[in-house]
């Protein structure tokens, strides 16, 4: 009897010890199989509109941004909440193939082959297309062919400049500039008819300059979009995440988050073909 009591005490101590140990490496050890009530979400902080926060011992507190809001909405849709945000840096480590310390990762992940091999990937939640912002006084173009006749500008060496060369192929020489400020100035002065910028940045590009710039004419399809990485073996099912994202799109949550953090919802932009 005494021995049994001692054994129980020892077991209790062992259990307590293991609990403490796992709490000590929060965010590093793989989370227990799905308990939707407490998701661990991995972030890769940096872009103020997408995800930002305060890193304290590997955890992210005061997290905010589009992807943070999306993670919280997604967790609610999955029937729970975000237990904690963890930061993985560099972002490549998110999908390095090591055991995940998270259930979901939202970190501007594009569906590359490496990403697919490391985690299950959801349907896109945000487009990575390029948007076209017009100078003031210009209302068209509705098709790519109309865009070709304009003076098109982009920041040199960016995906947007590659879209200009590969998809728009303007008949007049495109103007490639050093930075976003210069791009905005050329558009404001009319030296450029259209500026090509990443769709996720278009809202921020025009914010505060509504009287100086024209409308966002639409987007040029150029990529798949950003996806949620779902860690394997944690019990969270990617099909469930897909369904939840679909509902968030349908009920307007995704659009509201995009408008709130990005200035506009890129998915609502007309596709220029």
């Amino acid at each position: 009897m005494r021995l049994r009591a001692l054994g129980l005490v020892a077991l209790t101590c062992l259990a307590a010890l293991s609990t403490t140990a796992s709490a000590g490496v929060a965010g590093a050890a793989p989370p227990s199989p799905a308990r939707p009530s407490g998701l661990v979400v991995a972030l890769s902080l940096g872009d103020p509109a997408m995800q930002a926060g305060v890193v304290r011992g590997g955890e992210v507190v005061l997290a905010r941004g589009f992807e943070v809001g999306l993670a919280q909405a997604l967790a609610r849709r999955l029937g729970g909440r975000v237990d904690r945000f963890v930061e993985m840096r560099p972002a490549a480590r998110l999908l390095a193939g090591a055991p995940a310390g998270w259930h979901l990762a939202l970190a501007a992940i594009e569906p590359s082959r490496a990403a697919r091999s490391a985690a299950d990937l959801s349907v896109p939640y945000l487009t990575t297309d390029a948007a076209v912002v017009l100078r003031r006084g210009l209302t068209g173009p509705r098709r790519l062919a109309e865009l070709r006749a304009l003076v098109v500008c982009a920041v040199r060496g960016t995906p947007a400049s590659r879209v200009v060369a590969a998809s728009i192929r303007p008949t007049r020489s495109a103007v490639l500039v050093r930075g976003e400020d210069q791009l905005r100035t050329l558009l404001r002065t009319g030296a450029c008819d259209a500026a090509v910028v990443p769709a996720v940045e278009a809202g921020r590009f025009v914010r505060g300059h509504a009287r100086e710039l024209g409308p966002v004419a639409g987007r040029v399809a150029s990529g798949d979009g950003l996806v949620v990485a779902v860690a394997r073996g944690t019990g969270v099912d990617v099909a469930t995440v897909d369904r939840a994202l679909g509902r968030l799109r349908a009920d307007g949550t995704l659009g509201r988050l995009a408008r709130s953090w990005l200035g506009l919802d890129p998915a609502r932009l007309r596709v220029l073909r």
Binding site: D47, G53, V54, L186, G190, R211, E212
Partner: protein, 342 residues
């Protein structure tokens, strides 16, 4: 060699003393400076504060009522609490409450780190600042600053544009030909500024002053009053400018002087005759680069083109601009003369 070896610890010791002195100035309260903003520019204000923590607290308190009345402001949210200040190796680590990161205005968030860094870098001996929020490292919250690292200097305030940059703006907006971008002041720039002032409703003096500079930095390319395809000219009598327009895009804005006392008729006309050198019979004068569009009224070069209507009805243009208008407004080009405020 030995002296050098001795000198290094001595210098480090001296620096530590300076820092310790400024940190421990609590006893007597030393004179320091905190940085606020006036407009968008940083401004230093003197404060007597007990050491570095006191200085940070003074910064967090913001400008006094009298200072606010003088236009000083702070981007740091009122009520932001200071959690801790430590100094190690001449680097000050400031731990602030979450309120410091409140709000989404990127310019404000960036500016408040700038205020903090300026204030602390002004303390003798301090070489860097680390910002912590609620004991953690803020990442992405303050655009422009990588707060994972020690901040050595605030982001530079935006430099005033150079004359060359302003001239380029005048070109980009359509008020000057590209040849005018020289980086030197001159007649061509002055005339372009005059045209810009007329278009923008500013006092017409052709001087590139602060008012014009500010207006240029927010100006957009002029837009035609009417919409129509092809090449055409709009003559705006109220603003005293002529717009050379192609497919609804204003290619150039010209400074002109039209007929005094309403002698230039309003209406829609077309260029019907062009003469490189035209002789005005009623006024016995040569009119180079003349493009007639109604009766004896033409665009032409003239030696004196004031900022107001001064001619007998013709449209006077600068000698540099008239050949450009002559080349643009070929025979048959529509000319809309528009009176009144547009």
């Amino acid at each position: 060699m030995r002296r050098v070896r001795l000198a290094i610890p001595a210098a480090v010791g001296l620096l530590a003393l300076v820092l310790a002195a400024s940190a421990a100035a609590g006893a007597d309260g030393r004179r320091g400076q905190v940085w606020f903003l006036r407009g968008d520019g940083p401004v230093a204000v003197g404060r007597t504060a007990p050491g570095v923590p006191g200085l940070v607290r003074a910064l967090l308190l913001g400008p006094t009522r009298a200072e606010r009345a003088k236009g000083l402001r702070s981007t740091i949210p009122p009520g932001t609490a200071l959690r801790d200040v430590t100094i190690a190796r001449r680097v000050v680590t400031v731990d602030l409450a979450a309120r410091f990161a409140a709000g989404r205005n990127e310019a404000s968030l960036t500016a408040r780190v700038g205020q903090l860094v300026r204030t602390l870098r002004a303390v003798p001996g301090v070489v860097g600042v680390r910002v912590r929020i609620e004991g953690g490292i803020p990442v992405g919250l303050f655009p422009g600053y990588d707060l994972r690292r020690t901040v050595r200097a605030p982001l530079p305030a935006r430099a005033a544009p150079t004359l060359r940059e302003l001239q380029q703006l005048l070109v980009d907006l359509g008020f000057m030909a590209p040849s005018g971008v020289t980086g030197r002041p001159g007649d061509e720039t002055s005339v372009a500024v005059l045209a810009f002032e007329k278009w923008s409703g500013l006092p017409r003096d052709g001087v590139l002053d602060a008012e014009v500079e500010t207006a240029l930095e927010h100006a957009t390319r002029p837009e035609p009053v009417r919409r129509a395809a092809g090449k055409r000219v709009e003559l705006l009598l109220d603003r005293q400018v002529a717009l050379a327009i192609e497919n609804d895009r204003v290619e150039r804005v010209f400074h002109i002087s039209s007929g005094a006392s309403g002698r230039t008729p309003t209406g829609s006309f077309r260029v019907y005759r062009k003469e490189r050198l035209s002789w005005s019979v009623p006024f016995s004068t040569w009119m180079p680069w003349a493009s007639y569009f109604v009766g004896g009224i033409a665009f032409h070069a003239y030696g004196y083109v004031p900022a107001y209507p001064a001619s007998h009805g013709c449209v006077r243009m600068m000698a540099r601009d008239a050949p450009l208008m002559y080349a643009f407004a070929t025979t048959g080009t529509p000319v809309d003369v528009i009176g009144g405020r547009v």
